[in-house]
């Protein structure tokens, strides 16, 4: 099972990939995750790759091979879409994080064109406003909990409760309730 998570540094893709990795390991699977830690975390593009299964090879997912694609940000989802396999499911957060290069006139952020591209290219696409759901849960930073919740609704090999528990275990006390709510909101949305 190959899962791609992409977004912008600071959105919580690293946390999400560790949560999935730990849950899967405890269920008896082998796990490989990979991310680039460093400069790109300063609001740059980030990609996490998670592989779960038996007899795994290396950490990197080949092009057009991912079974699941979690896009934490609209433009980043388009940027990395070649990783998604033809039968894969994509869950894309419609949140826009517009880089300063756009305000300085050096590049542009064309939201309709990006959405249109996703809708044309991805047969199984779930668009989700994870930022709004995180807001409803009580904290804008709970986007990754919303995304994990949505993922748990479409991924059948591990029970959603296991993923939720692993996430909550990794968080400080005061964030547990908010993230539990965020996870549930994401899950309910993707089921609906």
């Amino acid at each position: 099972m190959d899962i791609i998570m992409c977004g912008v540094g600071g959105q919580g893709t690293v946390l999400a990939s560790r949560v999935l990795g730990d849950t899967a390991m405890k269920q008896g699977f082998q796990v490989r995750t990979s991310e680039i830690i460093g400069m790109s975390q300063r609001e740059g593009s980030v990609v996490s790759q998670v592989r779960i299964g038996h007899d795994l090879n290396g950490p990197l997912i080949p092009d057009q091979a991912a079974d699941f694609f979690l896009g934490f940000e609209l433009a980043e989802s388009v940027r990395n879409l070649e990783k998604l396999g033809p039968q894969g499911i994509a869950i894309v957060n419609t949140q826009k994080i517009v880089p300063p290069s756009c305000y300085l006139g050096a590049s542009s952020y064309n939201e309709p064109a990006l959405l249109d591209y996703l809708q044309k290219q991805v047969p199984t696409l779930i668009l989700i406003d994870a930022l709004e759901l995180a807001r409803q849960a009580g904290n804008l930073k709970a986007v990754s909990a919303v995304m994990l919740g949505a993922f748990s609704a479409v991924y059948s090999e591990i029970a959603a409760a296991e993923i939720a528990n692993e996430l909550i275990e990794k968080l400080p006390e005061k964030l547990k309730d908010i993230n539990t709510r965020a996870f549930e909101l994401g899950k309910t949305y993707a089921e609906g």
Partner: protein, 601 residues
Amino acid sequence: MTRKLLLGNEAIAHGAIKAGIRVATAYPGTPSTEVFSTLINFAEEFDFHAEWCVNEKVALEIAYGAAISGARSLVSMKQVGLNVAADPLLTGTYLGVKGGLVIVVADDPGPHSSQTEQDTRNFANFAKVPVFDPADPQEALDMTIEAFNISERYHLPVILRPTTRVCHVCQDVNIPETYFTSPKARFEKGSDYVIFPNVSRRKHSDLIDTLQNISEDFSTSAFNLTEGEDDRGIVCSGVSYYYVKEALQRLQVKPAVLKIGTPYPFPDKLVTSFIKDKQSLLVVEELDPVLENEIFRLVGKTGIKTELHGKNDRLVPGVGELNVDLVEKVIATWLGKSLPEMSVAEKPELPARAPILCAGCPHRASFYAIRKAAGKKSDVVFTGDIGCYTLGTMPPLSAVDTCLCMGASITEAQGIGRAEPGRKTIAVLGDSTFYHTGIPGLINAVYNQYPLTLVILDNSTTAMTGFQPHPGTGQTAMGEEVPIVDMVKLIEGCGVKSIKIVDPVNLKAAVQAVKESLDYQEPSVVIMKRECINLPGHKAASNPVFVDEQKCRDCGLCVTEIGCPALVMEKGQKPRVFETCVGCGLCVEVCPFDAIQGGGR
């Protein structure tokens, strides 16, 4: 046996703990940093000493000192760190060690976050140091333990060389229960740890014999695997081994595979027996053609007839990372197989998303002040350095003209000024970098009377690599409070007569300080002092700025002058402030119409 999901770097730390290390040292650097930051968490429990050092040379020498006293020691760094530590490495290998010494040096194919794509396996060969090359976190843990054994058995330092895709990969790893208890350390006088030309000759000769023995040992090492039988063979190493395996499964072909985990000294016997009946060989490795060139040597030595493909004939790319797709294409070409074309529909334009200085980063204010002081159209050369502040090269700040290696801002400035007398320079570097290798260059400027203008961006941390403490912070790796090594006294001690300390967000004072320094005829230093906003414990914005739309005249200077990610202005609209604003107040100072208000802590 405990099973845990571990980052490669964490796995190395666990290996070192199981191997019974007594001393651990490091200077941070991506992708190596988490080896040491993991060790810190276990130092008390397992009773070993751990310290962040001021640079890699210092770190290696301390670990070496411990090792010649019989203590198992580990030092970790990124690949360019080994350039700084090269001197003790080469001589230390001649003189040898008593307790095991493992040097973890992380390479970065790509490169993702490094100045070069240098290959530490070649460095090991140059320095005549045995090297282990892990393919995944599990192997990184196992090799760390074995590296200590080899180091002690042969009295040599040993390098463990993980790459980014081992360091920053998580895997379910088995941690052994067994634990090595090292004997009590004691430095024995009279044993020969003094290098002299005559000692060197003897030691060099012994070293060559030892390496021969290790090569024999490595020929039977469990870290070198042979899989399958065929007259076509692939030789690979590190994470490339997995790319090869996956590509072979996808292509459904079965050439023989040899994976080398011990590239130096090369396991001649094992490789000779693998290549002797091959009609064609392909070598798949990242960075330099190290295995490939060794096989060329073997072919010359043995007279074996075989085709040899890899980097030398450009079948395998000479730069950048490998991955499954790339390796699959290489193997297909090698075997004359065709691959189905993958088509990707053309994408709409994507926004450029380069890393940038954070909202509220004090470096932004410093660079803005430096630019102002130098004058808008000025010809002043800004010699920069390595740290978060290298991002000051991006527009609109554009205040970094050079970046070579740590500490070079101060010395490049002197070279430029000497070559072009009268040309003004401003050298800019961070606090951690100043303590790392900045000080000798400053002393040189005083000694040789260069009218240096040096700006130190003191954000009270090593931000780039994840907020490590340094001598100026008054904290050790273990979190102890210690007296700070006072930067001002240090600079005074070097003989600098003009030293100014300013808060860069106090723009007028900061600009004035740099101007005066530029006019000063002798070496002078401006310390821009303001804490990194990401420091744990830093108070988040209590007072973000807001735009008074009545006063705003849409000039856009607040955006175009400083490029802060918390402040944006869309066409035809007033500037907008995001939640990420920490209220540093730089934009308040920049607005000519007093239209931005609030801010300040």
